[in-house]
Symmetry: C2
Subunit: 382 residues, 2 copies
């Protein structure tokens, strides 16, 4: 099978002889991939990995599977075959794949090193996105969507209406990350929001917050090209480098509100943490959506206490978030044309390394989301 | 008038010639004080102040009033006289006084330096407990309850049922601090709670959380005398010094829950901050109820993110909290006998310095709340 795969540390390349994925389990589904987006996490896996991927020669603890494996976890496609106990989807259905894997998936894999363990306490409480053993389809648990075909459990498939374009559907995954974050924030219609960073997650947050009915969204971003991208989505932008006291200036933007109801840190550096905390108003919430290293930052408990603010964070998503995002796009609550603005490139699998990964690493700021396709159904010319 | 008053930095003493408080304003109420508790803040004002008090010779920014002034902000009493526009209370009513003062009070005082200012943004939003100019009756705004009589606005009076003992009523103030915190936490019936510290606020938190219907409350406290006090309120206690990994041991106490639903930091040191953060479960909340200095502590954003926890803080209270606490005591939701356990001493105003302030400073751990009375209605022998 043709795929763009992770072979070992520092080696991601296209090959046409990857093993065909098969239905190993009654509840699995075989999907013809249509589109799959390249994520910052994929680049990270190349530049600093293996992080989620098994180490060279080793097994993934959840699935017991080894490298090489096709990458890609932001995928849409068409079901081609189903296992004998599958009831939730049928051949021909258009689907998106919720890529998170947890203790609840272990039963699928004979060789899982966790086979005899009880579910972790997160999974026992039904919070699978916080699973202690969390992994992702396309990041080493099993092969992902930079491939002709992929096998997933029916529990991770969300059927989408056929009129919803499959390229836009590949954005459901990053939109679900920020949809989950907006729910964690308890974000309400009519509230104001500040988004730190206009990378793919920051821009996905903008789309979601528009969908949640924000009365004002301001994106704080240093790079002018990215500010322009945010502007083109119809929201206000702010350049912190232009202001001696950027936090104070940002805070003033929601006139008479003494700050924003919510702030979303989609960058994850000390400056954006401080900004997200200080630009919120009384009882406002600051949500971390970024992945941080283990270095501590300075924190003053009175910063939240005196204004009774909340500090929280959001991790991953659930299949429920996927369903809600699909519905939001289908109903127009998140407009299709806004989604399309996030797609800055479409490439064949064969060109995925050079015109996908390398393009994103070398021209980070002009790109948001590059989608790859195996072109199973002539997607590139459709 | 007889009172225990703050004269100047380092000088708190009893005197019998303090000026009589009068009704300066149509909406004010004159109260014969029954009981008034000594608070850690009062000691702090002596040891490290002036903090809330005006500096020697200066005016309080909210009221324009100067020293000396009777201290005391945890008071109950009997209304003796009312201003011509007072409708909420009448002479003879038993009341407790909500001691917080904000922008909304400025209209009472001719000499306020803030007279011509607009309300601060907290007050404009109705969050008077977060007022930028917040002050307290009995802490320099106007004279407090360590006196024969006190004048307050009707808006700060909460009428209590006559069958509710006036000594217990003096505890409504500290109970309101933690009642407010439980509401900030969104604490729900049946949830589990960990309380850091068994000082007056920690013990008040225990009473409130019992009233909220906690299924389990564990108090973590180093001092054995204070653990005994907590035990006598019928909750579990924990000595962090007895465990090599105290956080892990505490977390295990709510069996199978992977930590507590809520933690209340009533101590405010790095160890209790870390404990409160780490002993909570998925989507759990850690609430700061302590007052911290300006020194930062280390914080790792992934500590909240990976379990989608919340970090927040609670400051002060509102008159609504007072009403709810009065109702909770009256209905038995907070039992009278539990409240009485917090009262470890009752003294006359004349003895308030020696048997109140000095006793608390020298025997901190054996005392919780010492109440003072001017003995207007023979309270000490009643
Ligand atoms: Zn991703
Ligand atoms: Zn799990
Ligand atoms: Zn107090
Ligand atoms: Zn105010």
């Amino acid at each position: 099978m043709r795929a763009l795969a992770y072979f070992k540390k520092g080696d991601i390349h296209f090959a046409d002889d990857l093993p065909e994925p098969t239905i190993e389990n009654d509840e699995e589904v075989l999907i013809d991939v249509s589109w799959c987006g390249i994520c910052g996490t994929d680049l990270h896996e190349y530049l600093d990995g293996p992080i989620f991927m098994p180490r060279d020669g080793g097994e993934h603890p959840l699935s017991g599977k080894r490298l090489p494996q096709p990458m890609g976890h932001e995928m849409s496609g068409i079901v081609s075959k189903i296992g004998s106990k599958v009831t939730k989807v049928k051949a021909g259905d258009h689907v998106v794949v919720e890529a998170g894997c947890s203790c609840l998936d272990i039963k699928r894999w004979e060789n899982s090193s966790l086979k005899t363990n009880a579910a972790c306490s997160a999974c026992a409480k039904g919070m699978v996105n916080c699973c202690a053993h969390a992994g992702f389809t396309g990041l080493g648990v099993t092969g992902g969507g930079f491939a002709e075909r992929v096998t997933v459990s029916q529990d991770h498939c969300v059927v989408i209406p056929k009129e919803l374009p499959l390229d836009v559907a590949a954005l459901v995954e990053p939109l679900s990350v920020t949809w989950h974050a907006a729910k964690i924030a308890g974000f309400q219609k009519g509230q104001t929001a500040c988004v730190m960073g206009a990378g793919p997650i920051g821009l996905a947050a903008v789309l979601v917050l528009k969908g949640f009915g924000a009365s004002k969204i301001v994106v704080s971003e240093l790079a002018s090209i990215r500010r322009d991208l945010a502007s083109s989505l119809g929201v206000e932008v702010f350049n912190p480098a232009e202001h001696a006291d950027a936090i104070e200036e940002l805070r003033k933007i929601p006139v008479g509100q003494d700050g924003f109801d919510a702030a979303f840190d989609c960058s994850g550096v000390k400056a954006t943490f401080d900004t997200a905390l200080h630009v919120t108003t009384f009882r406002g919430v600051s949500v971390n959506v970024a992945i941080w290293g283990n270095k501590p930052i300075d924190y003053h408990p009175m910063d939240v206490t005196l204004k009774e603010k909340r500090l929280t964070g959001s991790i991953g998503y659930t299949v429920e978030d996927f369903r809600e995002v699909v519905e939001a796009i289908h109903s127009g609550r998140i407009p299709l044309q806004d989604c399309r603005q996030l797609i800055t490139g479409k490439q064949k699998l064969e060109d995925g390394w050079e015109k996908g990964f390398l393009e994103l690493m070398n021209h980070k700021e002009t790109n948001v989301k590059i989608l790859l396709t195996p072109n199973n159904h002539n997607e590139l010319n459709a």
